[in-house]
Symmetry: C2
């Protein structure tokens, strides 16, 4: 099995549907701002997870295309608003939405995208009870994403964040959207409550692994691959598992929270974090979460989709960007 | 009938429920920011319209308390984000959310409030099919509110906005939430499709009247009553029916778009707008919309709730603030 081919096959189902599900409406500039990040690419991991979960419980992926589009658009919505809050001006190698359309434009593009997501979700073929379940799930998911982002920002003013606090933040800010993507796929695909719960747990655990690994990538990936400034988390003073491990091991990071850091200073910090074992610690933790997540799928019958989900879990902590 | 007493009676049902429906959660500061404008007051016109619509089609208002809370919270969400975009620092006589919690805090408080609205709506006692209808209605409503706000902002760069363009903007930005409040009340109250449509139209037409009258109030109301700077629309260069009428009648408004205007300059502009008949024209237009809106209720059976709705329509263009 070629994993990337399997992901792309499912991603292209969403790409092919977007023009029907979210055409450029009126005011056209608003809709261009809403479509901008989606059209700029992305790996479509959340839609892929949703499609595969539907397939793994015996459902038809063609029936859940609107739902799979929804989770990608919700992800885009959070990126647009996060980039404003984090003052990140580059995303996917292109100017962020707030750079192109200004503060008001980016707030509104995010709000509209989020509203539209519910509307698109409602176009998924299912019964009313399941639709209500999915809409409530999406609502609770976004509440937790916001709570996680609030906590993440509040961490920037603290230098005593514990590993447990960090893990809870990551679960809310990042992992829950993977959990919801998988569970929604299971619910819409007609899975049992046990299957839906297993896929939720799978998404949550591997999602935590994804984010911890993402924090590592932010440090070690060349900028032309990353599509944004390398080491930006460090410069912004973001708490990550790496930084928390380093602090607990008395590693001095002069570059932490220093927005004007040079490339050399970032490289120097990276060296220190390698020597202290902080990066290895983060990688090992990410790996553990992925292993635990994969185990959750034991309750599912064997299928090609299940195999791809297991491979996807590994990919989340092995990808190069 | 004492209209304000009838509105307050219904508003207090929402006030009494908020602590259960949206308690201060964790992170507590986020939830305080979300509750801030709600707790600061407001006339609860949208919840009242929803309750009354339920009653007017024979439903029980006790059953729709979560839905009535939802429309107020969605209104609060739009206020929080609009105040950022419009750089309005005062709301209901107190500092705006972005003044108290900063830009990131206000963006997140709005996002979370909006997410929570869907979750609260889902707690309304009804069947799944009606719930889906209401959630989709809420989603489409918010899409149009955002489209209206985008258009409103784009008007600030133009000095050739037509009356028709302005009316369409107002319908989206303000009127549709009244329309949705009324229709949602009808759907949840078990009304016929004809009744639901009539209440939608009623909310839409009287909502347009409400906004046009609101633009007048912004000019003529003393600041201690208004809770924000008088004439702020003029200073911000907002297109209103008053300004459009004035421009079409060649009235020179030096103060337009001048953020540092003095109280005397505002008074002077007000005098000009009175002399040109621009304020009277806006008032007459608002009145016409309310008359048309009230007519839509002819299809409803006679009831106390219907009488209160008709009185509420008049109030929307007769209130002092």
């Amino acid at each position: 099995m070629d994993l990337l081919e399997e992901i792309n096959k499912r991603g292209s189902m969403v790409d092919g549907a977007i023009q029907n599900l979210m055409p450029i409406g009126d005011p056209d500039e608003l809709y261009r701002a809403m479509r901008y990040l989606f059209d700029a690419g992305g790996k479509r991991l959340r839609p892929a997870a949703l499609f595969l979960s539907t397939e793994a419980v015996g459902g038809n992926p063609q029936d859940v295309i609107p739902a799979a589009t929804t989770v990608e658009l919700v992800h885009n919505f959070t990126l647009i608003h996060d980039d404003i809050m984090d003052e990140d001006n580059l995303r996917r190698g292109i100017p962020a939405v707030h750079v192109k359309w200004g503060l008001s434009g980016a707030i509104l593009a995010g709000d509209t995208l989020y509203s539209k997501s519910f509307h698109i979700l409602s176009q998924t073929k299912t019964d009313a009870a399941r639709m209500v379940e999915c809409m409530v799930m999406m609502s609770i998911t976004c509440i937790e994403i916001c709570e996680g982002q609030w906590t993440d920002i509040s961490f920037e003013k603290r230098n005593d964040v514990s590993e447990a606090e960090y893990m809870e933040m990551v679960e809310k800010k990042t992992a829950i959207l993977y959990a919801a993507s998988c569970k929604m796929g299971a619910v819409l695909g007609g899975g049992t409550p046990g299957e839906a719960q297993a896929l939720w747990d799978f998404g949550r655990l591997t999602g935590v692994g994804f984010q911890i690994y993402d924090d590592v990538l932010d440090l070690i990936t060349p900028e032309d691959v990353l599509g944004k400034v390398r080491g930006s988390d460090l410069m912004e003073g973001k708490q990550t598992l790496i930084v928390i491990h380093a602090r607990e091991n008395n590693v001095e990071l002069d570059v932490f929270g220093k927005r004007e850091a040079t490339r050399e200073e970032i490289d120097d910090a990276l060296k220190k974090l390698e020597d202290s074992g902080s990066i290895d610690y983060a990688l090992a933790t990410a790996r553990k979460y992925v292993v635990d997540g994969k185990e959750k799928l034991d309750v599912l019958p064997e299928s090609e989709a299940k195999d791809i989900l297991l491979a996807l879990a590994d990919y989340m902590i092995e990808r190069k960007f």
